[in-house]
Symmetry: C2
Subunit: 124 residues, 2 copies
DNA sequence: TCTTGACTTCGAGTACACTCCAAGTGTTAA
DNA sequence: TTAACACTTGGAGTGTACTCGAAGTCAAGA
């Protein structure tokens, strides 16, 4: 698979994918004889994984560390620790998000009430 | 209340609070005769609100727009629209977060299993 | 053969959200 | 009265994560 196909498949710019490889957020992608990237299933998997994690807000730094450990023997515990820490971060973000959404709901309801009062005929 | 007290109360740096006022993310804070900020309840409320929204990931730009409209008559609908849009953004983020946390749980479980296999005596 | 277009690398530029700094003022405590 | 300290403004600097540009290679079609 070319970088363009992968880019379209996962809706990430080719620049971003190259950037991720450059900084080690995804492992080295196999190349054809002419040097052009030729994504295999594993490489695609990493792209998909990194996209998922980044979308949720996992830091680039943590992912780089994880990928780095992934290719070293006996680092299972350290890898797990990274995942656990990031899991906790996401959990916190999740709570914050929930609370803020409730607050927004409350404010939105207030505005809706206001608007019904202003235009009683439009209350549907 | 001084900026220092507000800063401590909401765990936001004084620099950040001044920055928020400067860019209009919170309305103008009342001053004493000598020009020093003197936060009243309303000003504190805005600080707290902006902190909550920013922590959840609401963009600075959207909050500036909201605060701007807040002091203009007849902008209730526009204000509501901003809140509704931001609510939708947070909802999306929420789904993404949930999915990613599940995925991390799965991976963490995998590592735990691995480690139990390696050290059967430590399976507790 | 020549042009078009996708790819390569690497370094520079950008956007966002702070965060810090310099220069100056005002208040309090020794 | 002088030092210490918190505050003011406006502008410059920083960190993170991309995003773009330049210069060059390579393969395919007119």
């Amino acid at each position: 698979m070319t970088i363009k196909e992968v880019s379209e498949k996962y809706d990430l710019s080719a620049d971003t994918i190259r950037y991720y490889e450059r900084i080690g957020l995804i492992p080295h992608v196999p190349r054809k004889e002419n040097g052009i990237r030729d994504f295999d299933e594993a490489a695609c998997g990493w792209v998909e994984f990194s996209k998922c994690m980044r979308n949720a807000g996992v830091q680039v730094e943590a992912l780089i560390e994880y990928v780095d450990l992934f290719f070293k023997e006996g680092t299972e515990e350290a890898r797990k620790d990274i995942l656990v820490e990031q899991r906790a971060r996401l959990q916190e973000q999740y709570e914050q998000l929930k609370a803020t959404m409730e607050r927004l709901d409350y404010k939105i309801a207030h505005y809706e009430e206001l608007m019904v009062k202003k235009c009683p005929n439009l209350k549907s």
